[in-house]
């Protein structure tokens, strides 16, 4: 059993003063430029981040700037989110800052950074609540995956056609409304019928575990924080049934 020894964060969410104090974000790097980059990700400053990224690129390899500055900053954001210090707006802004930095690094490399594998993400047809998907995209991006972002209100046929064309390691669907999540079993059945057997992560506010695991290919994605773990399993070749037993009850 885990005992709680530090009570300082318990009432954080009941406190209106949720501005993150400077000392709450941990140090990102001993290198001052990389630390500045990480700090601007944590603070969600997409414009301010450009100068330190450009400075770092004068002496460092672009992939090191990505991994040791930008991604480390996003990991810190992920921690602050998990602990209830950060809310959605901070995470969205941090993702913008990280992506701005990655774009500069990729321009320097003259090509897109090497990625571990493709993940197709979408928000269900009829649903414009893509907030969960925006965060999953940012975390997958930070985790080194190539995100094929189909955005919100995405028809079943588009998802199926994209999977056929792009051959991703995993697909995710987000639905905030009980009226839109019914698209997910349709997608899974069509993929199965086409002989494409890959993990489909069902997530979002309306989606319950019992329902997510009631149709083939689907694994319940309880929270955005699971995104990279699930993608790593898919990358390692784990099948959807094994992933379901590992991640779901």
């Amino acid at each position: 059993m885990k005992f709680l020894s530090d009570f300082s964060n318990i009432f954080k969410r009941y406190d209106l003063d949720t501005e993150v104090k400077k000392q709450e974000a941990r140090k990102i790097s001993d290198d001052p430029v990389l630390d500045a980059i990480g700090k601007f990700v944590v603070e969600g400053e997409a414009e301010d981040i450009e100068a330190p990224v450009k400075k770092a690129l004068e002496t460092k390899a672009p992939m090191d700037v990505i991994n040791d500055g930008l991604v480390k900053g996003m990991n810190e954001v992920s921690r602050l989110w998990d602990e209830g210090v950060y809310f959605l707006p901070q995470v969205i802004l941090a993702a913008d800052a990280m992506n701005a930095g990655i774009a500069l690094c990729e321009a320097k490399m003259g090509k897109a950074m090497d990625r571990k594998g493709k993940v197709v993400t979408h928000t269900a047809e009829g649903d414009i609540h893509d907030i969960g998907q925006v965060i999953a995209n940012a975390l997958l991006n930070a985790g080194g995956f190539e995100v094929i972002n189909l955005g919100c209100d995405c028809p079943v046929d588009t998802v199926v056609a994209t999977v056929k064309a792009e051959k991703p390691i995993m697909v995710t669907g987000t639905a905030l409304m009980t009226t839109t999540m019914t698209a997910f079993p349709k997608i899974c059945h069509q993929l199965e019928a086409a002989g494409i057997v890959i993990p489909f992560i069902s997530g979002g506010g309306a989606v319950a575990e019992e329902w997510s695991t009631s149709f083939p290919l689907s694994i319940w994605g309880k929270e955005d924080g699971w995104s990279c773990g699930l993608a790593e399993d898919a990358l390692a070749g784990m099948g959807w049934e094994d992933m379901r037993s590992k991640w779901n009850g």
């Binding site: 809310f87 414009i128 009980t178």
Partner: protein
Amino acid sequence: MNSKERVLAVLNHQKPDRMPCFTANSTVTYDQMEKVGAYWPEGHDQAEPMAKQAMAAYTILGFDVVRAPFDQMTEAEALGAKVKSGGEKGIPGAAEPPVYTIDDIPPKELPADYLSRARIPELLKAITIMKKELGDEVLIEAGIIGPFSIAAYLLGVTKTLKASLKAPDKLLPFLEISEKAGTALAHALIDAGADIIANEDMTASPDIIMPKSYHDLVYQFQAKQFEEINVPTILHICGDVGSIIEWEGKSGPDILSLEPATDLKLAREIVGPKPIFMGGADAAKVLFMKTPDEVKAACREQVEAGIQILAPGCAVAPGTPTENLIAMVEVAKSYTS
């Protein structure tokens, strides 16, 4: 007591014969549509089918109040937002792209023909039909959308969230016009026959924005809105609202509609005795997914924790089985005074 007397008793902080059951949100399901012979999408933009579907909450389910409309786009659409039909199965939603960017300045006043725009005239007619048909037996509830959620429809949710952190001042004129849009609609709905106004402000939930943003940006507009509405009011914000409930209470609604995620005992300590707590089984995870017995157990747990009006935690999912909704009414009937 009939339903009307029962709900009035609770609103006046007197003892009802039993606990009432009704909701701040939509009650329509496919099954009820079949039973009353009125369907979507007509129920979203034509007065007759809208009234029929709303009244099914009383005639089919036994809820103590009837309520329209069923989607959240009424005001935003009348302010120029593009709407996408939900077809036969869904509710109208916002279409991309949003009508404004954060650098735009929206009009300071509502257009002169605001109340005759988009679907507002049919909604007003539906309320009048409901009042005429059922007004002696049940109170008529009409829904408006809270200022932050309307603003988010005008600007796009993600853009609104970014602005809440980086440029809150730029949101203020959008919140101003959105508050006016909701309040003007509320006045027209009351004139058409509404006895209760429910204010849904989904996007102001701490699941989506910072509690500090609720306090700094939303609270003042909600307080102004409730001040200007002279019938009983309900405030519904989704999710665990423990971090903002003090300000929800202070904004002045008679009833707070709460999802089961909120700790009711702590909430009561914070807001004091006055606001009436409405809530019950989780709309997606229990009412939609589980059996009548599980619905009953979930409802009883919430009543024991302090719920005074039994209700689905949020909008009823249209695929929800009728027996689950009736099970909730049965629980309400079992709490007699």
